[in-house]
């Protein structure tokens, strides 16, 4: 833990942000599949009961019903643990995108953030399976304030969008009035051209720890919050790849199909200076345990980052 930061649980921003937005936007509706308390939208059900739909443990039907509401002009937001809202709904979500509907899906407990429930509940493929669907926007904000800003941006954009949100406590590195632009990465630190750590939001703490540890290596680099997996800030990625020797991607996700993959896909076939190295989970199911412990044990940690810098 960093003493200079306050910590909070990013998903706790969801309910209040949606309540606030719904006060002035009467199109916003929230769908739940029996986890409203776990994902912080229970408060929404109390604030706007007419626009809250508890669908029961029926994720597939929830996504398609959200599609029906979107056709009628509403902005449905389905919030559940990502293994439910994303992991259990591929055909329905794909068909929502095929219909080109303004459906918003939020997946909490990203990556191994539902650690103790075990590998069945870990959501380490959600960026992979959402970003491959045509038309889908995929966002990965980091701390509580950035999650709130990303939700505002998600409501303002037209079209299907999936957002993953951390359950694990994260340092609060952004102010409340932070601006979030979809498709624009955020360069948090730029101190040299030896390396760049590029992370997705739910791996914020491990990326920061790696950044701190890198100070003992004698190498100077950059720390970049990617914010949006699709669209990706390709301009930023290419520019950085021409400047640094090593790009280290850091993700609370499988290294297959997520952040590492999108960076590699962007750079492959072009001449750049950097080699790209992955920090994340290596094509395996993990085990039950505290989320922080799983990250440490299975390689999402500062040591793995620093090993690539040295």
């Amino acid at each position: 833990m960093f003493s200079q930061y306050e910590y909070s649980i990013p998903k706790e921003a969801i309910g209040n942000t949606l309540i606030e937005l719904a006060e002035t936007n009467n199109k916003i509706c929230v769908f739940s599949s029996d986890v409203s308390k776990s994902v912080n939208v229970y408060e929404f059900s109390q604030a706007h009961p007419d626009r809250f739909f508890e669908m029961g443990i029926a994720e597939q039907s929830t996504v398609s019903a959200a599609g029906g509401m979107a056709i009628e002009g509403f902005i449905p937001v389905y919030v559940a643990l990502s293994i439910f809202s994303n992991g259990m709904t591929f055909p329905q979500t794909r068909q929502v995108c095929n219909n080109n509907l303004n459906v918003k899906i939020i997946g909490t407990h990203a990556g191994v953030d539902d650690g103790a429930d075990g590998p069945g509940h870990h959501s380490t493929e959600d960026m992979a399976i959402s970003r491959v669907i045509p038309r889908m926007t995929v966002l990965c904000p980091s701390d509580e304030n950035e999650v709130a800003a990303a939700i505002r941006a998600m409501i303002d954009m037209e079209g299907p969008c999936y957002m993953r949100v951390a359950r694990e406590v994260q340092p609060i590195i952004h102010d409340k009035d932070i601006k979030f632009e979809i498709g624009k990465a955020e360069i948090l630190y730029d101190e040299g051209d030896d390396f760049a750590i590029i992370f997705e939001g739910s791996a914020l703490e491990q990326a920061l720890e790696g950044w701190e540890a890198s100070k003992n290596t004698g190498k100077k680099g950059k720390l970049i919050n990617i914010r949006s997996i699709k669209p990706l800030d390709e301009e930023c990625v290419r520019k950085v790849a021409d400047m640094v020797d090593t790009i280290i991607t850091v993700e609370n996700h499988s290294i297959k199909g997520g952040l590492y993959s999108v960076i590699c896909e962007t750079l492959a076939g072009e001449k750049h200076k950097a080699v790209v190295k992955p920090v994340g989970f290596h094509d395996q199911f993990m085990e039950s345990g505290p989320s922080a412990g799983i990250k440490e044990k299975y390689g999402l940690n500062a040591k793995a980052i620093v090993d690539y810098i040295n």
């Binding site: 509706c29 007419d50 626009r51 739909f53 669908m55 029961g56 029926a58 597939q60 039907s61 929830t62 996504v63 398609s64 019903a65 959200a66 599609g67 029906g68 509401m69 979107a70 056709i71 009628e72 002009g73 509403f74 449905p76 055909p91 329905q92 068909q95 095929n98 219909n99 080109n100």
Partner: protein, 278 residues
């Protein structure tokens, strides 16, 4: 809904026969598609297009064809209404056509929902029914599924939800033609007692002959004054209806007629059309 003062059943029957011929032509021309389930659904879809759905309005009743493979029946009726043009009928399932293999709302907005992955349409209906209630609209949402489609688990999720929320602006029509892709639904996975199951989920259920315009009209109009429950019409139909050698034969789920079979089928339908007062 449309304001129809006097429904003329003979006219409706004649229109449905013309639509059957268009269905046959589309599938034969396109050398691809699903005849059997389009022919079983044709009378109901014709009725909805002629008497219920007002495609001229922005805020209107909806018709979701969840069994999207029967889409030629909908294209035929939309052609009858002037929405699909004559020249388009020859483009079914071909490149650059609006008439894609299953409904596609971006190409043809009147088809309401892009469907084809079975099991999802009723949930869209639930969402639309929520939306209509929020808007305080009196519009109705009609959804047609196949009987085999009830094998999809998502259908039962939506049935439960509609019953729970008492969505009396939702009408489900089950095209009970008795056949899955090639064999009887009851042999694949039994769905009986279907009406009892639906009633136990909180639905008002009506069994009809899905080829009788009188029964279709009576069921749909009488359901309009039923409140407090979602409504289901189990429409008993014949797969391949109207073409004798296709009727109740599972292989016509997606067989394409040879030129010779096409001529026989066309002659049969034309003979029936000739016998009406068109």
């Amino acid at each position: 809904m449309k304001k129809i003062l006097n429904v003329n059943y003979d006219d409706l029957r004649a229109t449905a026969l013309k639509n059957r011929l268009k269905i046959l032509n589309m599938v034969h021309d396109g050398a691809s598609g699903h005849l059997g389930g389009a022919l079983s659904a044709c009378d109901i879809i014709t009725y909805l297009g002629e008497c219920i759905i007002d495609y001229d309005s922005d805020e209107r009743d909806r018709f979701i064809l969840s069994k999207g493979h029967a889409v030629t029946a909908l294209y035929a009726e939309l052609h009858e209404l002037g929405i699909v043009k004559d020249e388009e009928l020859h483009t079914f399932r071909k490149l650059n056509s609006r008439l894609s293999g299953h409904t596609n709302r971006e190409k043809l907005p009147e088809t309401d929902v892009t469907t084809g992955l079975l099991g999802q349409g009723l949930s869209y209906g639930v969402g639309m029914a929520f939306a209509k209630k929020l808007k305080k609209s009196r519009d109705t949402v009609y959804v047609m599924i196949g009987d085999g489609e009830t094998h999809e688990g998502q259908i039962w999720e939506a049935l439960m939800e509609a019953g729970h929320f008492k969505l009396d602006n939702l009408v489900l029509i089950i095209d009970r033609n008795g056949l899955c892709s090639h064999q009887p639904v009851e042999n694949v996975i039994s769905i009986e007692p279907l009406a009892d199951r639906l009633e136990s989920f909180g639905w008002f259920v009506k069994d009809i002959n899905g080829h009788s315009m009188e029964e279709i009209d009576s069921a749909i109009t009488s359901l309009q004054s039923q409140y407090g429950k979602p409504k289901c019409i189990i429409a008993h139909t014949v797969k391949g209806k109207g073409i004798s050698f296709m009727e109740n034969d599972g292989q016509w789920h997606r067989n394409i007629p040879t030129d010779e079979q096409y001529e026989i089928a066309k002659a049969e339908l034309e003979a029936q059309i000739g016998g009406t007062n068109v």
